[in-house]
């Protein structure tokens, strides 16, 4: 890995004939364990944005040290490539490729690049714990990823599950929750805490592997309230490191289960067993590979392909008899191609079926949700009138839970419509441009 730090801009005006890379650029080399025959090379900007570039552009950026002039850069590149490259070509690449990405010190681009709106990506979100705090906490928690501790935790999980099943399961805990509804607030608080810990697990795995975790936040993903951790920097890790990041979240769920089981063993407080069982379901849910939960990233990292959704169209197109596969498919190694194809063939029908189900059930869902919101609002007002704090808190919580899917569906649909509209405009513009360039007869 090469780190290049340029002098701060402002100390002297950048000389365009002696270019240098922008402050804080890191040249990270080839994407490790890539599923592509020729792996992309990656560069990290100071703002954390990861970029993939061709090997030639990566080499060029590495040559821009603020000491060499364009001629020296061209000469060095020619030697490295074993093929001549002219000063004009070097200048052209700097102007058309590197500068627009904000990689050159005199780039006008100081702002973050326009973010790619990922298909089925996180919609509404806001940071909760800043990266500095996440770094401090994960420094303490890093030893939890020592292999011996992981093996021990998994063995303990099996023991706890057997112990709980033989000990009567969740029935006593459910009965207690029903008879003392205020305990539900505790159960919800613990489940929320588990969500935060899950993200800390991802972040700690990232730190253990040598990548910097980013902010931890909360938001809405499709219809679910979620916590998230920004792990852009983990692109620098190898497959093993990235998989550790993917699985670090559920590993911390396991640790949380063990702690709860310990407290239950000491106190005998049955509602903890219900929370513990819910954690098992949460772990299973995280392994779903069809939307961007942990299972998706596991499949993505096993294949070595960072964006599986981006390969759906080319893969489907390649399966049409008589049609030659697009470059996005032919660049894949055979194993990666097999994994991505299997993922596409299971994900596309499932997502379409889910969309169809939502479309059919939407009127009923809207009616039920509206009625429930009305009921809970009435209950909330009544509880407030009588000063019943617990009742008000539960009604308020249920109102939030009812509202989240509604907001999620609305935002997701709005984004889909916007995406479709923009694609359609782009296509029409493309056709217009092509029609101008087409030979007239």
């Amino acid at each position: 890995m090469t780190t290049v730090l340029a002098e701060p801009t402002g100390s002297r005006p950048p000389d365009r004939t002696v270019p240098r890379v922008a402050l804080g650029i890191e040249l990270l080399g080839a994407y490790k364990d890539s599923g592509c025959v020729e792996p992309p090379w990656i560069i990290r900007r100071a703002d954390g944005q990861m970029l993939e570039v061709s090997p030639l552009l990566h080499r060029l950026a590495a040559s821009l040290d603020g000491e060499r002039d364009l001629e020296a850069v061209a000469s060095r590149l020619s030697q490295e490539l074993g093929r001549p490259i002219s000063v004009a070509s070097v200048e052209y690449l700097i102007d058309t490729k590197l500068r627009p990405l904000g990689l050159v010190a005199d780039s006008a681009t100081a702002d973050p690049l326009p973010s790619r709106q990922a298909l089925l990506g996180l919609t509404l979100h806001a940071g909760v714990a800043p990266a500095r705090l996440v770094r401090a906490v994960t420094t303490v928690l890093r030893p939890l990823f020592l292999p011996a501790l992981i093996v021990g935790a998994l063995a303990a999980l099996v023991f706890v599950d057997v112990w709980l099943v033989l000990g009567g399961g969740i029935a006593p805990g459910v009965e207690r929750l029903i008879s003392e509804p205020a305990l539900l607030l505790l159960a919800v608080a613990l489940t929320l805490m588990a969500g935060g810990l899950h993200e800390l697990g991802h972040a700690t795995a990232s730190r253990y592997g040598g990548a910097e975790p980013g902010v931890i936040g909360a938001g809405i993903y499709l219809i679910w309230p979620v916590f998230y951790n920004d792990l852009n920097d983990s692109h620098r890790l190898d497959r093993r490191g990235r998989l550790r990041c993917d699985l670090g979240g559920v590993y911390f769920n396991v640790v949380f289960i063990l702690v709860l089981a310990g407290v239950y063993g000491v106190t005998g407080f049955e509602p903890l067993v219900v929370v513990l069982a819910v954690q098992h379901l949460a772990i299973l849910q995280q392994f779903l590979p069809f939307v961007r939960l942990d299972g998706y990233y596991v499949v993505s990292d096993l294949a070595g392909i960072p964006d599986l959704f981006g390969r759906i169209r080319p893969i489907l197109s390649s399966l049409v008899p008589g049609r030659s596969p697009a470059k996005a498919v032919t660049v894949l190694k055979p194993k990666a191609r097999a994994i991505v194809t299997a993922w596409v063939l299971t994900t596309v029908p499932l997502l379409m079926a889910s969309l169809l189900f939502i479309a059919i059930r939407l009127p009923s869902l809207v009616a039920t949700t509206g009625r429930s919101i009305g009921d809970q609002s009435t209950a909330l007002l009544a509880a407030l009138r009588h000063g019943a704090v617990q009742g008000a808190a539960l009604s308020g919580l249920q109102l939030v839970l009812l509202a989240v899917p509604v907001v999620g569906i609305a935002v997701t649909m709005a984004r889909a419509v916007d995406r479709g509209r923009r694609t359609s405009v782009h296509r029409r513009l493309g056709r217009l441009i092509l029609s101008f360039g087409a030979p007239r007869g």
Binding site: E52, V53, L56, L57, P84, I85, S89, Y92, T96, K97, L101, S115, R116, A118, G121, V174, I178, P181, L184, A187, V188, T191, L192, A194, G195, G196, I223, W224, P225, V226, Y228, N229, D230, L231, S234, H235, C245, D246, G249, V274, V278, L281, A282, Q285, Q286, L293, D294, D307, D375, Q376, A379, A382, A383, A388, G391, L394, S395, L397, Q398, L401
Partner: protein, 59 residues
């Protein structure tokens, strides 16, 4: 340009792209289970309790 120098097409085809973000999520939808998933359980409803409990019996 010199002989064997890169053509404009070769230069233009040099790949650049943003890597997709890696925002690892924890869905906390399951926290709703204790609140809304109790309709299949046989319970003795405390009719003096908060209103939400009464609604369980109506499902």
């Amino acid at each position: 340009m010199q002989n064997n120098d890169f053509t404009v097409e070769e230069l233009d085809s040099q790949h650049t792209a943003q890597l997709p973000g890696r925002q690892l999520l924890a869905a906390v939808s399951l926290l709703g289970i204790p609140l809304v998933g109790l309709d299949g359980v046989n319970v003795n409803v405390d009719t003096k309790g908060p209103n939400w409990l009464g609604s369980i019996g109506q499902v």
